[in-house]
Amino acid sequence: MIYSDIALDAVMVAVLLDLFIVRSKMMTRGIFWLTYTLIFPFQLLTNWWLTANKIVMYSDAEIIGRRLAGAPVEDLLFGFSLILLTLSLWEFFNQKEFSKQF
């Protein structure tokens, strides 16, 4: 299992959890895509800084090799997954029915 596998698995897990298990369905909401659109350029900026200064380095055997702003494209999938599942869980716990139990 290389980074490419992890990145794809992470996207699949986040999408499936969001739509069918947690059921926040963030992916169907405009506000989610607006949030992601704002975050995306800052991920590129951070990735560029971390790779340009060689703070983080990637093994060639672990990635498909295509890069954007210095970092492997896998990083964008992994980052998208992280944002999606975070907001999906956050919105799940925002539901009034659940909050009352605490």
Binding site: Y3, V13, R23, R29, I31, L34, S59, T86, L89, F93
Partner: protein, 82 residues
Amino acid sequence: MGKLRQFLLVDALIMILYLGWDIWAVFKKSWYFDENQIIGWQLFDRLPIEEILFFVIVPLMGILTYSALLKLTGWSTKDEAR
């Protein structure tokens, strides 16, 4: 539930999953770090504290961005079908 408690709960769940993947990748050396550019505190002698804090900071700023945009746009989280 308080917002801080809610965040800690969400982040704990996120960490279980994503730190799992992360530890796998770091132990496999999918990516590695310049030892001169990290503090040096490492979990299992391998995982820099910076890498762990990444999974606190990114979810936190994601939720803050989301909450700020909800307020600024006035868009509802509930008008789409559930």
